[in-house]
């Protein structure tokens, strides 16, 4: 996570010079590697030139795969299949064994398109299958592509092979070809870094680390993943074309599973969610066997050993090792000082007053009736408390409203509209935001990035615009970052904006989740036990904050066990027991309700 923060370091709003310095701090490793790579031909050593060319080609593929493996967390281990596909597409098209011969650059473009299409095909199972299953499908795909290359002799030349494309003019010289590969590698680095620093990059990591929360903020996993598979497949196809040209002659033997292992391990050694890490990983793994001839045979063994060590000892990889910023100690006694007066302008809307209503909602899990005919109305500008003993259906109610569960029957309405049951990713569009009983954070991302996730659906730039940092993307980022900074200031966490979220204390995470929910500028906000784990003073501040939120317009549905907080700030309280309403009314009515007192509040 080092470099996805490259532009989002802790910089107070309105201070520009430190932002430039932070940019430089994040950019210098790329500049150093780039300068060394550009200067390499000065050595005149063509052997190392070939190795550097190979490293560039591998990186073109790994840069794309990094978004799949490192960011989205998909265990795609058979990615060599796409290299094979790109290599054969480019070679067969330039050799003209199946079609009229194409010029090499045109063939390279077709290889990219073919890679994109098959990237989509390989990625499709990831929408339904998890981890190991998906890993197996990519592995199976890799085996099959090699077998087809062997068997389809009339086109691929079978075991004899086919010559790779040769680029025209200066590009056919070793150093000319090297610079071509280097340029492509640089473009890929730039594009993936742009994605990493966009709402798409943040969403990918959110899907990886906090899928449930991602859904609640309108991130639709299937489209996101498929877009990334498309991009990753395209660059893998291009890498394949370049690989074939470097090899000058390709046979199925050239595409062993060892290559897949190299690509995959380079990313994990580098560190998930980083770009500089996997880049260093690729360079190290390509160069490592060159230092001693006997190592060549043992290279895959070494990669595997490295992988095991990394997984067991430093799961964060190289990126974590060089992330000095997040090792600086944080201040010990931190205080969360919210500024409730800032909430109004932040939410900045007085939506037409609509109520959120539940009518006769029922939901059973097996034989257990979790909710049993529940009616509830949350009015805008009011705090509605939902209390009850454990297992009374409070969180389940929130999950039905969020769309995680489809109720067995009953209706859910927002004003006059009926909300479709299920469809959790559509709730954000309805401006229904929530927090979770156990904070669902993206631990490896900064606090600011976590909060920016809340505004994902308000971004306008498409994936392609973000890839190329077109103006709409830059505007999105500026607006989102400023809004997130302001929201953090309002909840009192702005000093921690640049800190990795997993370094925060529990109480700070609760406020961070509220900030993330406020980024949605919600009409309705659902808080699931926000006071759990907070000190008495923090609970008081939380109460003021919640009241300030309702003053600004939204309705709040508050699930809580702290009776004091409930009775202090709620306008309405509903008491649940065994999925049914035990009592409903104003706090003072509830406080004197005989059954509630005996069943739940105690004497």
């Amino acid at each position: 996570m080092t470099d996805t923060r490259l532009a989002t370091t802790a910089v107070p709003v309105g201070e520009n010079p430190p932002r430039v310095a932070a940019r430089l701090e994040a950019l210098w490793p790329y500049l150093a590697i780039g300068a060394a790579a550009v200067a390499l031909p000065l050595t005149g050593d063509t052997y190392w030139g070939i190795i550097a060319t190979r490293a560039c080609i591998y990186w073109i593929l790994v840069a794309g795969l990094n978004l799949v493996v490192g960011f989205a967390g998909q265990i795609a281990i058979g990615w060599v299949a796409l290299l094979t596909l790109g290599a054969y597409t480019a070679s067969v098209l330039t050799a003209g064994t199946a079609t009229p011969a194409l010029p090499p650059f045109a063939a390279l473009i077709v290889a990219g398109v073919a890679g994109a299409i098959f990237g989509l095909v390989v990625g499709l199972p990831a929408l339904r299958l998890r981890t190991f299953y998906f890993a197996m499908t990519t592995l199976g795909f890799a085996t099959i592509v090699t077998q087809i290359a062997l068997a389809w002799q009339s086109v691929t030349g079978g075991g004899i092979g086919v010559p790779g494309p040769e680029f025209p003019g200066w590009f056919s010289t070793p150093w000319g070809f090297y610079y071509l590969c280097l340029a492509l590698a640089a473009i890929c680095t730039w594009m993936t870094a742009n994605i990493a620093a966009s709402r798409f990059g943040r969403s990918l990591i959110a899907v990886r680390d906090a899928e449930v929360a991602a859904e609640a903020f309108g991130i639709f996993r299937p489209t996101l993943l498929l877009t990334v598979f498309l991009f990753s497949g395209a660059v893998a196809g291009v890498a394949g074309g370049m690989f074939a040209s470097l090899q000058s002659y390709i046979t199925p033997d050239a595409f062993t599973f060892d290559l897949s292992v190299l690509f995959f391990i380079a990313i994990l050694i580098g560190g998930r969610g980083s770009i500089i890490g996997p880049m260093l990983g690729t360079i190290i793994l390509t160069v490592l066997p060159e230092f001693a001839a006997p190592l060549v045979a043992w290279s895959t063994f070494l990669y595997a050993a490295l992988l095991l060590l990394i997984v067991l000892l430093i799961p964060g990889g190289i990126a974590d090792l060089i992330d000095f910023k997040n090792r600086r100690p944080l201040e010990r006694h931190r205080e969360i000082a919210p500024r409730p007066e800032m909430i109004g302008p932040l939410i900045g809307h007085t939506a037409a007053a609509k109520s959120l209503t539940l009518e006769n909602i029922a939901l059973s899990f097996g034989g257990v009736r979790a909710i049993d005919g529940l009616d509830l109305e949350v009015r805008p500008g009011e705090v509605h408390g939902l209390i009850g003993p454990n297992g009374s259906g409070k969180t389940t109610t929130l999950n039905v409203i969020s769309g995680y569960y489809a109720p067995d029957h009953g209706a859910l309405r927002l004003g006059g509209d009926t909300l479709a049951p299920g469809g959790a990713h559509l709730r954000a569009g309805r401006r229904i935001a929530r927090t979770f009983q156990t904070p669902r954070l993206i631990g490896a991302a900064s606090v600011l990035e976590n909060v920016m996730i809340g505004g994902t659906i308000d971004g306008h730039a498409s994936f392609a615009e973000s890839l190329l940092t077109l103006p709409r993307h830059r505007r999105d980022e500026r607006v989102l970052r400023d809004a997130a900074m302001a929201t953090l200031t309002a909840v009192g966490l702005e000093p921690l904006a640049g800190v990795r979220a997993d370094r925060l204390q529990h109480s700070e995470l609760r406020f961070m989740e509220i900030a993330r929910a406020l980024m949605l500028r919600p009409d309705f906000l659902m808080l699931d036990e926000p006071a759990a784990g907070l000190s008495a003073e923090e609970i008081k501040r939380l109460g003021t904050l919640i009241v300030a939120i309702t003053r600004a317009g939204p309705g709040v549905l508050l699930v809580e066990h702290h009776a004091d907080l409930i009775f202090d700030i709620c306008d309405h309280v509903t008491v649940l027991n065994l999925g049914k309403i035990l009592a409903a009314g104003t706090p003072s009515e509830i406080r004197s309700h005989r059954e509630v007192v005996s069943a739940y509040l105690g004497a």
């Binding site: 197996m136 992988l307 997984v311």
Partner: protein
């Protein structure tokens, strides 16, 4: 030809089924999908050839040593690649650690043993043609394993403890079951079943390092389709896969067989990610 299809198909099916059971035994003990299953099968063949053909040990001694090695590797798998990452099961680090460990052993075998397939010794000299021992040995091993597991799980206290751990880890621990030791024992058991698959099928598969990824995939197909943890699914799926594959091999060629198996595998999983025998996982919010 029909006899060959059936003989080869049942032999390969039995091997796939055994690898599938290896996956299951590790999975039920730890909820971990381990990449080591195919590697164990490969090792059974390689170690069998090493002990019996190269070192000239008697068949029984060779088998005992192979099983011991399988158990040892199973225990190492548990200690090195599973136990350290079990705390954070949701991060799926086990996929990486078991993959790394399997690759380590596979590459070591390739370098120190051979990168070419080596012949596996004839264990017994029984039966002509399709009744040759190379076809029925895997079947016998598979049958013995199923019966053995059934007896272990139903009749012995240790076996019941295995089931208890598989059913509800926390409850089993609360009852005072030594969860860690039982998990280690399960991995040792899985190691033995895995190498037995490669040993019994040695003459069909040969002693070849690249059997590891092949068995990994084709051993996983029946468990994925039959439902993770279901041995019945693994056995039925394994035999169906073996017969289908050999039929396609003899009738239309190996490429078609691979592509067809892959396509069926993906389509079935896309339609039913939990397989035919597995329970649909409840969503956890």
């Amino acid at each position: 030809m029909l006899e060959s299809i059936i003989a080869y198909g049942l032999a390969m099916g039995a091997i796939y089924a055994l690898i599938g059971i290896t996956y299951n035994v590790m999975f039920t003990a730890s909820r971990v999908f381990s990449f080591t299953a195919g590697m164990l099968g490969m090792l059974g063949g390689v170690l069998g050839a090493l002990f019996i053909r190269k070192l000239g040990l008697p068949v029984i001694a060779g088998l005992v040593l192979v099983l011991a090695a399988g158990a040892a590797i199973g225990v190492i798998t548990e200690i090195v690649t599973v136990r350290p990452v079990l705390k954070s099961l949701d991060q799926h680090l086990y996929v990486l650690s078991t993959l790394a460990f399997a690759l380590l052993i596979q590459q070591f075998t390739a370098i120190e043993w051979s990168t070419e397939p080596q012949p596996f010794p004839r264990l017994l000299d029984i039966g002509p043609g399709v009744f040759d021992q190379q076809f029925w040995l895997p079947l016998a091993a598979c049958f013995a394993t199923i019966v053995g597991l059934e007896l272990l799980y139903r009749r012995t206290l240790v076996g019941r403890a295995f089931l208890a751990i598989a059913e509800d880890n926390y409850a089993a621990r609360a009852l005072g079951l030594p969860e860690q030791r039982l998990r280690m024992a399960s991995y040792a058991l899985a190691g033995m079943i895995g190498v037995l698959a490669g040993f019994a099928g040695g003459e069909v598969l040969l002693a070849f390092f690249a059997n590891a990824p092949m068995l990994n995939f084709y051993g996983f197909v029946p468990v994925a389709l039959g439902g993770m943890g279901s041995n019945r699914g693994a056995v039925i799926g394994g035999f169906a896969l073996g017969l289908f594959q050999q039929a396609a091999n003899f009738l239309v060629g190996g490429i078609f067989a691979s592509v067809a198996v892959f396509v069926v595998f993906i389509l079935v999983l896309l339609a039913r990610p939990e397989g035919f025998g597995g329970a649909r996982a409840a969503r956890r919010v």
